[in-house]
Symmetry: C2
Subunit: 442 residues, 2 copies
């Protein structure tokens, strides 16, 4: 297990709201794309309660003066309205860009006076920033590496044999729909589709009655590969551009009827929501862990998926939460209620293994492609990352504190995903919210 | 059944090679994107043995002079290096663009002298044009509407019950990989992956031993829809931008091991090949047919998929061929050998039904999205659109005229897809080739 002391130890910033900020201290410095009313979209960095406007910073020549190798080039690309070109620069430039940001923002920075003089033109109040999708997503792939979810869902269909024989060899994934991925804050209409009523043989058409969420880690691809050139497992981590939260909204009744033999389609493609900030691998480095040992009797990964460094530090210790805010709770001014607590340590495969497996047939990954991890459920009640699991297939309603009950999502429901990592020496970094709201079918 | 007399009757062109051309007479006028050595990519129209360079035509002011409403705007967008913006203009502009092309190219056109004066700068010899992918493909969806293929494949697994219960209600489809779609002429390396040897429980990793092709119709999306707004079946045909041929290369052994429970993934994502020319709905109008009657006992489509006009003319009578050229045949100067003859009338669902179904959950279709039809096999031997079917699951090798045999594809094999429609009054239109070659695994 590697601990990066530099980013592990809190560093104070002259941006006062950043210090002791649970999400956006100097430990984090995530990149996103935002828009302030009346201005064009551009890249920014979350710092405390503010967003550092990269276009203003670049125009002011700040990154040229810091002189961190590729930092100025990276900053110019990160200031754009889509971060694909920034992703394509790869790890080395990203690390230099991060070092330049630290030099600009740390307490005692020689740039403080000049930056403060730029005021809110440079440090935009986050509350005024509308966050946008950070990149053009060429292809979106949804994996299935949350083994407890696979087990829980499998048990609903095959109580004695919940996991299929390929699960412990293949990082199972499938292609998803890129066009309907939206950033946190998006609403969507309850999807309509074909479903087969219980005991019937003829399907009906109408709004889904089993609308669900799925708690997932999102992975942005940084530098890509050429068609036909697989990414070796030893290099896979270098192709990861960053992380976010991802809600893979699912219509379970549509899914059950449509998914054989080619997999989920319309039951997923109506909406996917991601959190706006791209949490960098460097910010997450202190929270890397050894890949949890496979239970006795489980096979070793095949050679192409096995790397000692990846096994030693390829997992992440990220605490996850799902919160539900019903329309009634919102009307009564209540806070969202936590309905699930989980952790990314529930992944059976590492992100590097997902990258390598995806490319091993020669498939090209491109900068700005997005992966979902699959639902990251824990093993215990209260740790399940979907209503399908929390309600045992819809059989046992979830009881909310205000007396409401839920088997599946109702119109007006809001689901919020949150993620945070707590450093051993104090301090934390957060992902920011992944929030979405269900509107009635239209 | 509607017959468009205008485009049904051959019209002669002053471009002499176009007259009686089996593929690219005035009946067709397909759009594509090409590059001539040393020049930038741009849009062009196939006409006889030439490609009309739309950038040169636009710069010469030809489309402004023809004055066909939106034709000049459409031509300017069609002259670009990607046709997404042209697709987004929709049907009305495309029809006017086609009328303008006819006015420019028909025998007796008042523009003939000026156009001939531009010589090979305007009419590029097709043999010098490298064809490119015509659009940026946001999302690629592969359907499964070839019912004979579904039946043939189903029989290999479930002899007594080959079709799953949802097949006759749901136009089954799944999301595919956009990044590895390449244009005709592309080569690709045999994919590596996990496969489960017969009788074993532990998979092995290596090059696929069951590499196959799939004969499909490709459909380009023209104008799209907004997220959340389904496309009614009565309007679906207007969202089709054009057609091509599509080879959905498949690694059957990888597919068999990986596809449960979420569908095909790496067994397909290594390569997909499309023909370069976009055959317009207007060119295909004379070849529309009534949707073949469903066998007695089959259910009616659900209401949202049912439209009388679509039932009356939503099918297409397009003759399809698959040809194989082995390395030995090529070395001996032999022509490719036909191994399958089929027809798009083997589709159980119309293209309009595919469009409506795909969007019925609110999923956004975007200009330049691509659909595959699924494998279009006929019912008889010799009409099967994949080696899986032609060899009965690899059990009976295909016997080639030169004595070679094939169960699955070997390194060096070339597969060519062709499509042609024959007009009742004489004349034909063709799709041009969809050609791809298997290279050894790397």
């Amino acid at each position: 297990m590697t601990q990066s002391l530099t980013s592990h130890q809190p560093v104070r910033s002259w941006v006062r709201s950043a210090n002791d900020h649970p999400d956006f201290s100097l430990l984090n410095l995530p990149l996103g794309v935002f828009r302030v009313a009346g201005e064009s979209p551009r890249g920014g960095v979350a710092i405390g309660d503010s967003v550092l406007d990269l276009r203003v910073a670049v125009d002011a020549g700040l990154f040229v003066e810091v002189e961190q190798g590729l930092a100025a080039k990276a900053a110019a690309l990160a200031a754009g309205s889509q971060l694909n070109a920034f992703f394509a620069l790869g790890k080395h430039a990203r690390v230099q860009f991060r070092q330049a940001l630290l030099a600009l923002l740390e307490e005692g920075s020689v740039y403080q006076v000049r930056m403060e003089a730029l005021g809110e033109a440079l440090l935009r109040p986050m509350s005024l920033c509308e966050m946008l999708l950070p990149a053009r997503i060429g292809d979106y792939t949804d994996f299935y590496v949350g083994i407890n979810h696979a087990m829980n869902v499998g048990k609903l269909f095959r109580p004695d044999n919940p996991l299929l024989p390929n699960y412990k060899y293949v990082p199972i994934g499938y292609h998803g729909r890129a066009s309907t991925i939206a950033v946190s804050g998006a609403t969507f209409h309850r999807p309509k589709g074909q479903t087969l009523p219980a005991g019937q043989t003829v399907p009906v058409f109408g709004p889904s009655k089993k609308l669900d969420f799925e708690l997932e880690l999102g992975i942005w691809i940084g530098s890509g590969n050429q068609v036909g050139q697989a990414i070796p497992i030893s290099e896979a981590a270098d192709h990861i551009g960053g992380f976010c939260l991802l809600n893979d909204w699912s219509a379970r009744d549509v899914q059950a009827w449509e998914y054989q033999p080619l997999g989920p389609f319309l039951s997923k493609s109506f909406a996917t929501t991601v959190s706006p900030w791209i949490i960098s691998p460097e910010a997450l480095a202190p929270f890397r862990k050894a890949q949890p040992s496979r239970p006795e009797g489980d096979p070793e990964p095949l050679d192409y998926l096995l790397d000692h460094k990846d096994q030693a530090e390829g997992a992440y210790d990220i605490e996850l939460e799902v919160l539900l805010l019903t329309e009634r709770m919102a009307a009564e001014g209540m806070e969202p209620e936590v309905i699930c607590r989980s952790n990314t340590l529930n992944m059976y495969w590492t992100v590097a293994q997902m990258v390598t497996h995806h490319s091993v047939n020669g498939c090209q990954l491109q900068s700005g492609d997005l992966f979902g991890s699959g639902t990251l459920s824990g093993k215990e009640e209260g740790e399940f990352g979907s209503l399908l699991e929390l309600t045992h297939g819809g059989k046992e309603a979830l009881q909310l504190a205000n007396g409401e009950r839920r088997t599946f999502l109702e119109d007006g429901d809001v689901i919020v995903l949150r993620a945070r990592c707590h450093a051993e020496g104090g301090g934390s970094i957060g992902f920011g919210e992944c929030r979405g709201k269900v509107l009635p079918a239209c």
